[in-house]
Symmetry: D2
Subunit: 350 residues, 4 copies
Amino acid sequence: MSAPLPPPRPTGIGLIGAGRIGSSHARLLATRVPGARLVAVADPRPGAAAALAEPLGARPVADVEDLLADPAVEGVVITATTEAHADLVEAAARAGKGVFCEKPAGLSLAEVDRGIAATTTAGVPFQVGFNRRFSPEFAAARAAVDAGRIGTPHLLRSLTRDPGLPDYGRVPAWAIFVLTLIHDIDTLLWLNPGAEPVSVYAVADALVAPEFKAAGLLDTAVVTIRFDNGALATAEASFSATYGYDVRGEVFGSGGRLEIGGRPRQDLALFDADGRHADTPRGDVELFGDAYAAELAEFTAAVRERRNPVVTGHDARRALAVALSCIVSVRSGGPVDPAVVAGTVDARQS
Amino acid sequence: MSAPLPPPRPTGIGLIGAGRIGSSHARLLATRVPGARLVAVADPRPGAAAALAEPLGARPVADVEDLLADPAVEGVVITATTEAHADLVEAAARAGKGVFCEKPAGLSLAEVDRGIAATTTAGVPFQVGFNRRFSPEFAAARAAVDAGRIGTPHLLRSLTRDPGLPDYGRVPAWAIFVLTLIHDIDTLLWLNPGAEPVSVYAVADALVAPEFKAAGLLDTAVVTIRFDNGALATAEASFSATYGYDVRGEVFGSGGRLEIGGRPRQDLALFDADGRHADTPRGDVELFGDAYAAELAEFTAAVRERRNPVVTGHDARRALAVALSCIVSVRSGGPVDPAVVAGTVDARQS
Amino acid sequence: MSAPLPPPRPTGIGLIGAGRIGSSHARLLATRVPGARLVAVADPRPGAAAALAEPLGARPVADVEDLLADPAVEGVVITATTEAHADLVEAAARAGKGVFCEKPAGLSLAEVDRGIAATTTAGVPFQVGFNRRFSPEFAAARAAVDAGRIGTPHLLRSLTRDPGLPDYGRVPAWAIFVLTLIHDIDTLLWLNPGAEPVSVYAVADALVAPEFKAAGLLDTAVVTIRFDNGALATAEASFSATYGYDVRGEVFGSGGRLEIGGRPRQDLALFDADGRHADTPRGDVELFGDAYAAELAEFTAAVRERRNPVVTGHDARRALAVALSCIVSVRSGGPVDPAVVAGTVDARQS
Amino acid sequence: MSAPLPPPRPTGIGLIGAGRIGSSHARLLATRVPGARLVAVADPRPGAAAALAEPLGARPVADVEDLLADPAVEGVVITATTEAHADLVEAAARAGKGVFCEKPAGLSLAEVDRGIAATTTAGVPFQVGFNRRFSPEFAAARAAVDAGRIGTPHLLRSLTRDPGLPDYGRVPAWAIFVLTLIHDIDTLLWLNPGAEPVSVYAVADALVAPEFKAAGLLDTAVVTIRFDNGALATAEASFSATYGYDVRGEVFGSGGRLEIGGRPRQDLALFDADGRHADTPRGDVELFGDAYAAELAEFTAAVRERRNPVVTGHDARRALAVALSCIVSVRSGGPVDPAVVAGTVDARQS
């Protein structure tokens, strides 16, 4: 009998940004990602890094440079504020670390291009946080498309309804496209493999919090995307669903249809005098906890194996181009060609 | 003890057009609509009227004038070819008959206006065949909106997937908007009560039968409608779903969400080595048989009671205005205002 | 071109018993069963026959003999009180009428045998009201069994939950087996074709209305049936479901599984802060309206064509034998063999 | 700002039995149970312990005594062969280790009593592997019962369909009750809190593999349990479902109904020319992976905190008493009282 295989060498991961999603990612790295070792957590806010890192056996640091200088850190997970993403990607790559960046990887194509260039030059993996691709249902949907189960895609849809935000007064106008719908856009691009978007039309409004409409808030949006293979796609978002967190998709093609999402919170139904009831998922970590763990496992493996992850900076760029085109479309009132307009806009200036 | 109430006096109905939907309507009138009596069926094709009418105990006529002159005919159901609808509505009204017209009630607003004027002048009911309003699920959805169960509508969607057409070479370019999506448009207008559409954007293509694209076929379409109450709506159609006939809707609002449709053919699931399976509805008569019977019962009652039906020529005009705007939007490549463009177009010229 | 076929000659039906289900059947015969003509309604209660018959254009009679003597009555639908079923079946058969009898067709095997003998002698159809066989889902389930889709049945289940009764003090002890579970028993026998029940075990209690337990009420029951092909089946009933009327079934076999029933009232779901909600069917006429119409159409056709219907007195006898065996099992506290015990019991004496 | 809380001290766990479920538990302990440290794996088969332990960073041992003597082992997870469970529980308790034992905790009440006595004497936790209690849907169902959402339970059901066994010739007759249905029995006892079973009736047969019927195989069973609060319960099992692994439950009460289980493998549906399709869960680790992790986390916490777990040896005893009663019922052909018969039987002698 042969000797058993050795266990994997633990791969050291550092995390930058101990906010809501950063805390979730840190815990997953420490407990749910086999082969990952959470080495350090950086956050400039006093105490934030320690409160997250220490119970997980990791080292808290206040200064990103400190984390990037740590030789035990082989890969960096960036969950800092959106505006800092691009600079952090570049800095991490220059330090020779593999890079996982929460979406978006930048607020302009130029920013994402800097990250792609830096990680390519450094020869390190560059993954972006399109977690839905790692959920069992979206992964199985893509596999069904690849297997030809629904023929050629004709009509696609992806939608997100968030369970509400704490302060609509602080939400930038671009958030619904660049932070939320970028997930749906990536899903639509990914489920229509080989096709390129040729036209983008977006309508948006402040319907959830109309009191911030004058200040520019957009909390509800519908996007139509036309692809070069003829497929027509819709992305839809609202910042506030009373019933929780809701992500669904559909691919309709020449051979059939895929319907993704909509499951209840538990596999349980209650029947009473008012009819049939089931609870609904309430948040992204609840709905996509396994997907978050799976994307971090993929990143950890890519770092260990020094290879490209399955979701790259190129995917980040493609989705951002459409999201930025939505901003231009809202401004212009008509459809736009992403190849023409996406490079002209920085979300910050929108 | 008081005497029992008398039975209803049977109301005589004549039907014009013994095609597919006309045959279905005739059978429903003869067997499923209490108080209706199918008196006569008109169709110019030799034998068509007789083949439908006689087994149902009705009189076949070749000539519409003959049917309209019959005093036993109190209401007329028009299921003739689309191009003839407007003239038939007018003729029936002038003959003093109540009018039920399959959608659309005309191919331009002017045509529908003629019908409204003629029926108003004659003092007869004028109903249009928006049968979905009579299905239990759509009716319950509207009741839920009226009861405030989902608050203010923010995002709406209605979609139709037909089970395929016999000959795509004979389908006019306007059909997807004026024959199919007009149902979805009516649904969206109806489920967002009190709001008016202010912007319409449509994209469409020949994806099902691309060999007829050069000839102008549009078999797949997505429409975005913006309402004056801020709500954003999407209508979506394909002429060919491998899995049958598929009509679904959604209303998402400040207080919740309604999801309409998607039930299997029977309340039965089969589990085998390949997983879980259920059959799907295969046609409109199968899915909306009860709704067709209910709309004809409403028409019969409106004729008997000499009152407006719950779906009127005004509803026909509103939905047609949006459908015609879609044609203009496809032609112009951008969003259009129905109040500006709908009156300028005749579907025949598109 | 050949001449169109003639319409069917209307078949005259008389109905005995203008109670809840009788009223429903009468209305279906008058409005939903093509080819049926409701000729007369008999009920001994003053005014009851007239209140039902006259609005439907039928003749009210107080005396059953009057109805049976009417030559326009070709078939009789018996929806009288259960205790009278057997005598009425016999009387109708002797009068040469086709017989449809609501379940049960008698309260002992001897009673049902009298009906079988009388209808056989008279050469008239004899159908019993096992309406579930005519619902699309149960019919499709049986078709799937016949097609071998689930292989050999191993485990079967059928259950009924009624929406509550007006007065539990007037419910005889045998009602749950002979009035309610007889439906489930027939379903189980029918979905396991070719097999005979060899053992029946029943447990039952007064859980809904325990105040009538001392008086003998049984309102909740579970039955286990063992078949000669090895299959094991369960039937389950409660007289009071807060959420309405609930009928479901399952057939599990060597090749797969069928799951029948459980659909919501409409094809509509509401999502709000408490999760996902759907309304539930509230009554038998609501859930099985189409099935009731279909069984009456089958009866009407059998009368017209002078043939056996698809559900016969023999089916009535088989299901009653198991229902009576349940009574014996409850009394004896152990499993019983229907072939041995069913002939020994009259439900009235239980 | 206060200092962050320290991380938990890792709790050392040893595992006995590197079979299918042992391997799954070992991997969960090593990767999914925060605060647990898999210290050692024992298995007498050459190489089995090493193949499992080493990739997980644990020490393989051939001899159980070796594992029990290791001071780093604070709790022991017993996934050895069923017949060895009782002795191993006792040995682990005597060594002062917390004990988690896969179900059943013994093959007679006397065996389980030995384990309860030994763990009580040693003052160590004793948990049994009723994992379903830790699944979100069953846990939420019990919470709904406790909250009075369905009133008093009247009818309960729990069922298991395994995806098939490799060799039916090696399955002991008692397996379906003591290995499989013991899960369903525990579920029924747990979902009817405060009630005791007073009567048990079981029917069983060899329908999946009838060629082993003569050798005593039972692969299909239905159990009826009557409780002292009047509730009637059914448990149902088959060893072979073509469609995978299927666990469902139902609690019907005076106030409503709970329906547990039945979800598809992914939250994805495919529609094609044959209708609607979804994949089904294929195994227990797939369906209950989270529940297995949660029960091991509870055990680890109980060991660390030196307290009783939420599922104890007492629960093991109650469920086994009913499972053993099923064996007696099958033998006797009638219902039995667990209080009378359960203590008289050893599954090995059945």
